[in-house]
C-alpha cells in the first residue's frame, strides 16, 4: 500500500507544481492592438507570410547586438538613412530625400530627410531623432557593440570615452536637414549608414522604454511588432505609417522559432513555412527531389571562407609552411564534394561583388608534391603535429576533416578540437587558435570592410592570424581615407597581393552561395545583397492569401 501512496504523493506534488506555475503570467510581449488593415484593391496586397527563425532574437536593439536574427528583424522594423537598391549593392536613399552631398575635402556630408516621415507610433521622425540615434550608439552606458558605423564622425571617440555627451561632428540645420563632419575622410562612410545597426530610433520613445527597448522597439520600417512569444513565435503586422505608400504588400509575417534544422525543413514540406534558407544537411535531398528542386532559389551574398594559420605558432612563422598548406588543400574537391558546388573557389580575400575583386588572381593550385618540397625546405620533411580549434558546428567539422586528410598527405598531422562557441570565440579573440577555418560575411560592399578588419595589424590578432606587415598597413590606411575609388582599388589590390600571395597570411578557400526554398505562391522574393539572410519583404506578395 505504501508504494501506491508514494506514487500518488509524487503525482500530487507534480500536479500542484503544474497548477502553481500555470498561474504565472503569459509569455507574450504585446505592442498595441491589431489595427484593422484597409485592403487595397490591388491583388498583391494581403495575406500572412509564414517564416521561421533558428533562434529567438537575443533582443531587437540593433545597436547592442549583431546577431543575424536581430539584423533580419531590424530591416523590417526600422529604416536606415540609405539602403541597397533592390538586390544590388548600389545605394539609394531610404529615409533621405536624396543621396547626401559631400564637400570637396571629403569631410562634411549634407543630409536631407524625406518630408513627413513618421515612426510606427505616429510620432514624426526628424533630424533630432537621427542625432539621438548616433549619440546613443556612442555613449558607453548604451552597452552598444556596433559603434564602428559612426566612429569616423568627429567627436565619436570622445563620446565613447565618456569625455563628451554630444557628438561634435553632428550639426542639426533644421527638422529635415543635418550635417555630419568626419574626423578624417573615410570613403565607405555612406555605406556604413545602410547597415541595419545604423537604423534610426525615435528619441523620446527609446529613452522612455529604457532597458525594455530591446524587447519592444518602435521603428519606421515596413512592419511593427504585434506579438512576441519568446522562443515560440514573433508576429509582425504592417506599419500603417510607413513612408512608402501602399507598401508592404503582405499584411502579417508570422515567424516561428524553430531551433532544429530538420524540423524546420519538415515544416516547410508540410506547407507550414513559406520560405526557408536551406540548411546544408538538407540541400542534397531537396535539390534531388523533383517537386522541391523547382522551388529552390539561389542568392550570391558577399563572403569569403579562408584558412587561418596563427603566425605566433612556431611552424607558421615560415612562409614556406603557410604556402605548403595553401597548395595541399584541394579547394575544387571540397567545393564539389562537400558544398555540392554551391559556391566558387576563392582566389583572394576580396570576392566577386566587392570593388577591387581581382578575377586574374592566380589562386593556390592544388599541388601536394610542391607542398612537400616546400615543407622539406622549411625544415619539416616529416611534417609536424598541429591542433585545429573550431566551434562545434557539423558543417565546419566536415570541411576540417577533409582538410585534415589533405594535410596528412604532406605529413602534417592536424588534430581537430571542437569547443563550445563562447570558449572558441574568446580563444580566437585572444589570438590563441593555432589553425582554423574562418569566414567573413561583408557588412558593406567595400574592400575596407575585408582588408582593414582582417589583415590590418590592429585587427589580425583578434582573428588569431597575428599578421603584421607595415607596407600592408600603410596601403590599407591610405586606401580608407582616399576619396578616389580607382586609387583605392589599386591600393587594396596591391595590399591583397602582398598579404595573400607574398606572405600567405591567409588561404582563400571559397565564396559560398545561399539557397532558399520558396513556396510557389510567394512572389517577387528579393534578397539583401550582403547576405544577412533577409528578404526585401516590401516587394514580396502572396498569390494564395
Amino acid at each position: 500500500m505504501l508504494v501506491y501512496k508514494k506514487l500518488l504523493a509524487s503525482v500530487l506534488v507534480m500536479l500542484v507544481v503544474v497548477s502553481l506555475v500555470g498561474c504565472g503570467g503569459g509569455q507574450k510581449t504585446q505592442q498595441g492592438q491589431g489595427q484593422s488593415q484597409s485592403q487595397p484593391a490591388d491583388t498583391k496586397h494581403g495575406g500572412t507570410l509564414q517564416d521561421a527563425l533558428g533562434q529567438d532574437p537575443p533582443g531587437l536593439d540593433v545597436q547592442q547586438n549583431s546577431m543575424l536574427e536581430t539584423y533580419y528583424l531590424g530591416r523590417l522594423l526600422f529604416s536606415t538613412l540609405v539602403r541597397y537598391k533592390g538586390g544590388t549593392t548600389d545605394l539609394e536613399p531610404e529615409l533621405l530625400a536624396e543621396m547626401p552631398t559631400v564637400s570637396s575635402d571629403g569631410l562634411t556630408y549634407h543630409f536631407k530627410l524625406k518630408p513627413d516621415l513618421k515612426f510606427s507610433d505616429g510620432t514624426p521622425l526628424t533630424s533630432k531623432d537621427v542625432k539621438f540615434t548616433f549619440e546613443r550608439m556612442l555613449k558607453p552606458e548604451t552597452k552598444a557593440i556596433n559603434q564602428w558605423v559612426f566612429e569616423p564622425i568627429k567627436g565619436a571617440k570622445d563620446m565613447e570615452d565618456g569625455k563628451a555627451t554630444e557628438l561634435a561632428g553632428f550639426k542639426i540645420i533644421n527638422d529635415q536637414e543635418f550635417e555630419i563632419t568626419l574626423e578624417a575622410p573615410y570613403a565607405p562612410f555612406v555605406q556604413n549608414l545602410a547597415v541595419p545597426c545604423a537604423s534610426i530610433y525615435p528619441a523620446d520613445a527609446t529613452q522612455k522604454a529604457g532597458e525594455e527597448w530591446t524587447l519592444n522597439p518602435i521603428g519606421s520600417g515596413p512592419y511593427k511588432i504585434a506579438e512576441w512569444v519568446h522562443d515560440d513565435h514573433i508576429t509582425l503586422e504592417r506599419n500603417t505609417n510607413y513612408f512608402e505608400k501602399d507598401l508592404p504588400y503582405i499584411d502579417k509575417i508570422q515567424m516561428k522559432i524553430i531551433p532544429d534544422e530538420a524540423t524546420m525543413t519538415m515544416e516547410f514540406e508540410n506547407g507550414n513555412i513559406d520560405i526557408l534558407a536551406i540548411p546544408d544537411s538538407e540541400y542534397p535531398r531537396l535539390a534531388s527531389d523533383p517537386n522541391f528542386s523547382k522551388m529552390i532559389v539561389e542568392n550570391t551574398p558577399l563572403n569569403t571562407y579562408f584558412y587561418v594559420m596563427n603566425e605566433n605558432v612556431k611552424y607558421f612563422q615560415d612562409v614556406r609552411v603557410r604556402k605548403a598548406i595553401a597548395m595541399a588543400i584541394d579547394k575544387d574537391k571540397i567545393l564539389k564534394e562537400l558544398l555540392n558546388n554551391r559556391g566558387t573557389v576563392a582566389k583572394g580575400l576580396l570576392g566577386p561583388g566587392i570593388p577591387g575583386y581581382n578575377e586574374n588572381n592566380p589562386g593556390f593550385p592544388y599541388d601536394p608534391e610542391q607542398a612537400k618540397k616546400l615543407l622539406a625546405e622549411a625544415g619539416y620533411p616529416n611534417g609536424f603535429e598541429v591542433e585545429n580549434w573550431q566551434a562545434k558546428n557539423e558543417t565546419f567539422y566536415k570541411r576540417n576533416v577533409a582538410i585534415q586528410a589533405m594535410l596528412k598527405q604532406i605529413g602534417i598531422d592536424m588534430k581537430i578540437n571542437q569547443m563550445d562557441s563562447a570558449s572558441w570565440r574568446q580563444s580566437r579573440n585572444n589570438g590563441q587558435v593555432p589553425i582554423y577555418l574562418a569566414n567573413w560575411w561583408a557588412d558593406i560592399p567595400d574592400p575596407d570592410n575585408y582588408m582593414y578588419n582582417i589583415l590590418h595589424s590592429s585587427q589580425s590578432p583578434g582573428w588569431s592570424i597575428n599578421y603584421k606587415n607595415p607596407k600592408v598597413d600603410e596601403l590599407i590606411e591610405k586606401a580608407r581615407v582616399s576619396t578616389d575609388m580607382n586609387e583605392r582599388i589599386k591600393m587594396y589590390q596591391e595590399a591583397e597581393k602582398i598579404a595573400v600571395y607574398d606572405d600567405v597570411s591567409i588561404i582563400p578557400l571559397f565564396h559560398v552561395k545561399e539557397y532558399y526554398i520558396v513556396q510557389p505562391y510567394v512572389k517577387d522574393v528579393q534578397f539583401h545583397p550582403t547576405g544577412i539572410g533577409s528578404y526585401n519583404y516590401k516587394t514580396m506578395w502572396l498569390e494564395k492569401k
Binding site: 547586438n65 525594455e212 519568446h230 522562443d231 519538415m266
Partner: protein, 310 residues
C-alpha cells in the same frame, strides 16, 4: 512535524548556497567571456572594457557573487545580459512548458511501461513477452532526438496526425511526450517485468494460489503491490531527470521551455540567466523532495517524522 519541516528548510540553505557558489565558480572558470561572445568578430578592447564595466563584470568576483546572493534572497535574479529581461520573470514564463512536457511524458511512460511490464511477466516466454522486451530494449537504447525525428517524420510529415513543432495546444504535446517518455517507458517495462517475475515465485504467492484465489486476484492484489517497490524507486529518480532532461525534446519540437532557456544561456554565457535557472531548478528539486516526504506522513500513518527522524 513542525520541527522536522523547520530542520529541513534550514538544511536547504547550505545546499542552495553551495549550488550557487559552485555554479558561480564554474561559469567564471570555464573559458568564454560573455562580452567577447556578444561582440562577435569585431575586436575592440575599449568597447569590451566599457561593456564589462556596465555589466559589473569588472568588479572582484566575491563582490559579484555576494551581490547576486543578496539580490537573489530578495527574489531579484537580475537581468539577462542579452535582452535585459528580468530573469525571474523569464524563468516563470518558461517553466510551465517544461513541467507540462515532463508530466505528460511521465504519465505516458507509466501507463505504457507498467502495462507492458505486467503483461510480459504474466505471459512470460510468449511472443508478446519476447517482442515487447525487444522493443523495450530498443526504446532504452534509442536517443531522444532520433525518436523525436522518427515520430515527426511518420506522424507529422507523412500521416499529418499531429503538428511537427510548436506549443499552441494539447495536440502539440503528443509527439514530444512520446519522444521524451519512450526511454522512461522502456525502463519501467523492463523493471516491472523483472520485479513481477521475482515476486510471483515467492511462497506467499504460491500459498495464495493454493488457497484457490483467482489468478486475477493473485496478480493484481498480492503480487503487484510488492513488485512495485523498485519500480516506484525508479519512477521517483526519473522525475528529476525528466524536468531537466527535456532540453533535446524542447529543441527538436521548438517548445519554449526551461531546458532550452538554460542551454541557450550557457552557450551565450548569459551569467544571470545561468545562475537563475540553476538556482530555480535546485529550489524545485529540494522543495519537491520536502513536499513528497511530508505527504508520506499524511498518506501513511506508519510514517512519523518526530523524534529525531529525518
Amino acid at each position: 512535524m513542525t520541527s522536522y519541516i523547520i530542520r529541513r528548510l534550514l538544511s536547504m540553505i547550505p545546499v542552495l548556497i553551495g549550488i550557487t557558489l559552485i555554479t558561480f565558480i564554474l561559469i567564471n572558470v570555464v573559458p568564454g567571456d560573455p562580452v567577447v561572445n556578444m561582440m562577435g568578430k569585431r575586436v575592440d578592447a575599449q568597447t569590451i572594457a566599457n561593456i564589462r564595466h556596465q555589466l559589473g563584470l569588472d568588479r572582484p568576483l566575491y563582490i559579484q557573487y555576494f551581490d547576486f546572493l543578496f539580490k537573489a534572497v530578495r527574489g531579484d535574479l537580475g537581468r539577462s545580459f542579452y535582452n535585459h529581461q528580468d530573469v525571474m520573470k523569464t524563468i516563470l514564463q518558461r517553466f510551465p512548458a517544461t513541467v507540462k512536457l515532463s508530466l505528460t511524458s511521465m504519465i505516458v511512460a507509466i501507463i505504457i511501461g507498467l502495462t507492458v511490464g505486467i503483461v510480459s511477466s504474466v505471459k512470460q516466454y510468449t511472443f508478446f513477452d519476447h517482442s515487447s522486451m525487444i522493443v523495450a530494449l530498443m526504446g532504452i537504447s534509442a536517443p531522444v532526438f532520433w525518436v523525436a525525428i522518427i515520430l515527426q517524420l511518420i506522424f507529422g510529415l507523412k500521416l499529418k496526425w499531429f503538428p511537427i513543432s510548436g506549443y499552441s495546444g494539447p495536440e502539440y504535446m503528443v509527439l514530444p511526450a512520446i519522444a521524451l517518455g519512450t526511454r522512461f517507458a522502456a525502463t519501467i517495462a523492463r523493471m516491472s517485468r523483472s520485479s513481477m517475475l521475482e515476486v510471483i515465485r515467492q511462497d506467499y504467492i504460491r500459498t495464495a494460489r493454493a488457497k484457490g484465489l483467482s489468478e486475477r486476484v493473485v496478480i493484481y492484489k498480492h503480487a503487484l503491490k510488492n513488485a512495485m517497490i523498485p519500480v516506484i524507486t525508479i519512477i521517483g529518480l526519473q522525475v528529476g531527470g525528466l524536468l531537466t532532461g527535456s532540453i533535446l525534446t524542447e529543441t527538436v519540437f521548438g517548445i519554449p521551455g526551461l531546458g532550452r532557456l538554460s542551454i541557450e544561456a550557457i552557450n551565450n554565457r548569459d551569467f544571470p540567466v545561468i545562475q537563475g535557472t540553476v538556482l530555480f531548478t535546485a529550489l524545485v528539486f529540494v522543495f519537491t523532495n520536502l513536499i513528497v516526504d511530508i505527504s508520506y506522513s499524511f498518506l501513511d500513518p506508519r510514517i512519523r517524522y518526530d523524534g529525531g527522524e529525518g
